[in-house]
Symmetry: C2
Subunit: 134 residues, 2 copies
């Protein structure tokens, strides 16, 4: 069911420092910050030849990554995102196999303007998994 | 400097359960377990169309992931691995920019038979970064 790894998301306590580290120290192709108010994050995409790294920084007091950064003040890898062809078919298949979908179980529009869902980390070895329909 | 994302490594407390979850629930292409005694891990590679997921399970009492699994009993994302063309040139450039290399600073032969180095997570937003020469 899952296809490409769309991105790896890394939550960071300082977006400018993290962007500079990837651009200047690791020599990667780092984009400009984009506010995503619907998701409570500011994101910076790092384009690698085969996938993307998504740096996440909290936007607003209700940001879903505030808790993660409280637990991991230096930052850390937050989630992986796998691509699927049909997110509703993927969801139904996962639920049938006992996996839990976060939130109300309905896809939201993600940072790339595509429908996304998040799966419960307890069902996937402590890893938060995002699915994105492409 | 960095090229492709070679893999994302996920430490897991139960390799068989994790393999089954990726194979049967997520429908991915999951390989057979391989013992890597030099690295203190048993690994399972999951082939995605554009990169790999590497499931890591401790091998032996001195496994470098024992501590991680003690802190994260359900498992979790352990590191990301970026490809470089020349690992010694990459190392020298990183050290010059103030990044710290783990261990004695000399590349070891990694799970794919290629020279690898690990960078200090404190220098990279709490993320353990592996570099692999390809």
């Amino acid at each position: 069911m899952i296809g490409r790894l769309n991105h790896v998301a890394i939550a960071v306590p300082d977006l400018e420092a993290a962007s500079a580290q990837y651009r200047d120290t690791l020599g990667a192709n780092v984009g400009a910050p984009q506010d995503e108010p619907d998701h409570g994050v500011t994101v910076v995409f790092i384009e690698l030849p085969n996938t993307k790294i998504e740096l996440l920084y909290p936007l607003g007091d209700d940001s879903p990554i505030n808790g993660f950064l409280e637990k991991n003040p230096s930052g850390g890898i937050h989630h992986v995102c796998y691509e699927v062809d049909d997110i509703l078919a993927a969801r139904d298949q996962l639920v049938e196999k006992g996996a839990r979908i976060l939130g109300n179980g309905e896809p939201k529009i993600g940072a790339h303007g595509k429908p996304v869902l998040f799966l419960h980390p307890k069902d996937f070895q402590g890893t938060l998994v995002e699915l994105e329909q492409v």
